[in-house]
C-alpha cells in the first residue's frame, strides 16, 4: 500500500516521497531531535517519530509491522552504547537489531530500508544528518512492496 497516490489527470504527478517510521528513545534520540529543532537545523520531513522510553522497548514486531502497514523505511534510534538511561537497554536492543538485520539481509530486503542509529541528546546535527541519509537512500531505492496483498 505504499504506492504513490495515483495522480488525477488534472494535477501533475507529485514526486514520490518515502514514508519512514522513526522509533526514538525518549532520553537521547528524541532529545537529539528536539535539539535539531531548537538549533533550527533543517532536514527532510519524511520521518514520523514514535517516542519510546528506550530503544530496548522496540520489538522487531513493531518494525515489521511498520513495513507491513506501508512504511518504506524504518529508523530506530537510541542512546550511544554506555549512555542508556536505563543502563543497558540499548545493548540488548543492539543484539536484537543485529539478528533482525541479518535475517532481512538474508531474505533479500534492501538493507537501506531498516536503519539504526545512536543519536545522543547533544547530537542535533547528527539527527538531521541521519534523517537526510535515510531519506536520500530511500528515494534512490523507491517504494517498498513485498507482497502487500496476499489476498484471495
Amino acid at each position: 500500500m505504499s504506492d504513490p497516490p495515483v495522480p488525477n489527470e488534472s494535477t501533475p504527478a507529485p514526486a514520490w516521497e518515502p514514508n519512514i517510521v522513526g522509533f526514538l528513545c525518549n532520553w537521547c534520540s528524541y532529545a537529539g531531535a528536539d535539539l535539531a529543532g531548537t538549533s533550527r537545523i533543517p532536514y527532510a520531513c519524511n520521518v514520523r517519530i514514535i517516542r519510546v522510553p528506550c530503544s530496548g522497548r522496540v520489538d522487531p514486531l513493531m518494525i515489521l509491522r511498520a513495513f507491513r502497514e506501508g512504511a518504506d523505511g524504518v529508523l530506530v534510534s537510541g542512546c550511544h552504547p554506555g549512555d542508556c538511561h536505563y543502563i543497558e537497554g540499548n545493548y540488548y536492543a543492539r543484539r536484537k537489531f543485529i539478528a533482525l538485520k541479518q535475517l532481512l539481509d538474508h531474505v533479500g530486503v534492501d538493507p537501506r530500508r531498516l536503519r539504526f542509529s545512536w543519536v545522543s541528546a547533544s547530537e542535533g546535527r547528527k539527527w538531521a544528518e541521519v534523517v537526510e541519509t535515510v531519506t536520500r537512500e530511500l528515494l534512490e531505492i523507491g517504494p517498498y512492496r513485498y507482497d502487500r496483498d496476499g489476498d484471495d
Binding site: E69, G150, D151, D152
Partner: protein, 350 residues
C-alpha cells in the same frame, strides 16, 4: 442422475486439457519451483502430473480460499462505504485431481448450505467442475477404501485404462463437461461398472469392511474414554491436518486494515489450535487431547449425525503430514470399537 460412461483416449485427454483452458480456469496437479507436487495452473499438458500421489494441499482452497475477503470498507466524509468482492469470473475445472479431493466438496456443501447459504463459498463452488482421476494404487496412509462416501458427488471420475480413460459421469455438472467437448469422448463399451469394480479391486481402493462410518455409535459412547489423554497428547496442535484436509472447513473472521479502510476477511482456522475456542478467561478445551478429540469426533460422530456423510474422504494427508503421525483411521477404529488396540500398542492411561 444415473451414471454415464465414456471413453477418453489419452490423446484426447491432452486435447481436453488444451480446449478446456479456453473455457475454464483449469487446475491440475503440477510441480512447483521446489519440485513439490501442488494443485496449480499448468500452462501445458506436459506440465500436468499424472500420479497417484496427492499434493500436500487439497483442492478445497479453490472453493474455500485460505484468505477470502468478505467485505471491503472505506471511511470518509462521515460515511462508511462497504462493498463485497465480485464473484469469480471464470468457471473452474479441477482436472485430474484425486478422487478423495474432489469428493470433499459434496461433503462440505452440506454445512455451507445448511439453512443459511454461504454465498462466498457457494459462488465458487457452483462454478467448479471436477474431473477426478482414480488412483491406481492405495498409498501408504490412504483409507478411502474404508469410507463409503469417498466418491459420491464427484462430477466425473476418470479411470486410467490401457491407452485411454474410462470416464464415469455422476452429476449434471459432469454431463455438461462431456457435452461441451462431446467429440473428444467416445461411448464406453462393455460393462463399465464391472470394469470399474475390478479396477478398484486391483488398485486396492474398493470398499473394505468395516467402513469407518460404522464407528459412529461407538464413538458416541467414547467421549469420556480415558485413553484420549494418552493417545492424543502427542498432538502438537498445529494446523497441518486441518489445513491439508479436503473436508476441514472451520474458519475465522477478522478485520485487517485500519480506520480509513481495510477488509473483513475469512481465514482458515483449526480446531486443534489452542486459540480456537479460547474466550477471555475461559477455555472450554483446555488441553491438547481435547482439541484433537474434537477434530476426530466432529468428523466421525457430530458431522454424520447432523449431515449424513462423515467429514472425511480417507485421503490420509493428516497421517502423512502429521509431525507426530497420529493416525486418525486407527484411532477411529479404536475409540469407535472396531479394533481392540490403538496403533503402536495399547497405552493405558495411568
Amino acid at each position: 442422475m444415473d451414471a454415464e460412461y465414456y471413453k477418453l483416449s489419452a490423446e484426447n485427454a491432452a486435447g481436453l486439457f488444451e480446449r478446456a483452458r479456453a473455457d475454464y480456469d483449469v487446475v491440475a496437479k503440477t510441480r512447483d519451483a521446489n519440485g513439490n507436487l501442488v494443485y496449480g495452473r499448468p500452462v501445458s499438458f506436459e506440465d500436468v502430473a499424472f500420479v497417484d500421489e496427492q499434493p500436500p494441499m487439497s483442492a478445497k482452497a479453490f472453493a474455500l480460499p485460505q484468505n477470502e475477503t468478505l467485505v471491503r470498507y472505506e471511511r470518509g466524509g462521515g460515511e462508511i462505504r462497504a462493498e463485497t468482492p465480485e464473484a469469480p469470473a471464470r468457471d473452474l475445472l479441477l482436472f485430474g485431481v484425486n478422487v478423495c479431493d474432489a469428493a470433499a466438496f459434496d461433503i462440505i456443501d452440506r454445512v455451507f448450505q445448511w439453512d443459511y447459504l454461504d454465498d462466498p463459498y457457494l459462488a465458487r463452488r457452483e462454478r467448479t467442475t471436477q474431473l477426478a482421476l482414480a488412483c491406481t494404487a492405495l498409498q501408504r496412509d490412504c483409507f478411502c477404501n474404508r469410507i463409503s462416501y469417498a466418491e459420491d458427488g464427484v462430477d466425473a471420475v476418470a479411470y486410467p485404462r490401457e491407452g485411454h480413460y474410462l470416464v464415469k459421469i455422476q452429476t449434471d455438472n459432469g454431463r455438461r463437461l462431456v457435452e461441451r467437448y462431446r467429440n473428444l469422448f467416445a461411448e464406453a463399451d462393455g460393462d463399465p461398472e464391472t470394469e470399474i469394480t475390478s479396477f478398484l479391486e486391483k488398485a486396492g481402493t474398493a470398499k473394505r469392511e468395516p467402513l469407518l462410518e460404522t464407528a459412529q455409535s461407538g464413538l458416541a459412547g467414547a467421549f469420556e474414554h480415558a485413553d484420549w489423554e494418552i493417545l492424543a497428547s502427542t498432538c502438537i496442535g498445529c494446523g497441518i491436518c486441518t489445513y491439508t484436509c479436503p473436508t476441514c472447513h472451520c474458519f475465522d473472521i477478522q478485520d485487517e486494515g485500519g480506520y480509513v479502510g481495510g477488509r473483513r476477511l475469512r481465514t482458515w482456522d483449526h480446531c486443534t489450535g489452542r486459540t480456537f475456542t479460547a474466550m477471555p478467561a475461559h477455555q472450554p478445551r483446555d488441553r491438547q487431547y481435547k482439541r484433537y478429540r474434537q477434530r476426530l469426533l466432529h468428523k466421525f460422530w457430530y458431522y454424520p449425525e447432523r449431515f449424513g456423510p462423515v467429514l472425511c474422504t480417507g485421503c490420509g494427508r493428516c497421517i502423512t503430514h502429521c509431525p507426530v503421525k497420529i493416525n486418525i483411521k486407527e484411532l477411529v477404529e479404536y475409540f469407535g470399537g472396531l479394533s481392540d488396540a490403538p496403533p503402536g500398542g495399547r497405552r493405558h492411561a495411568p
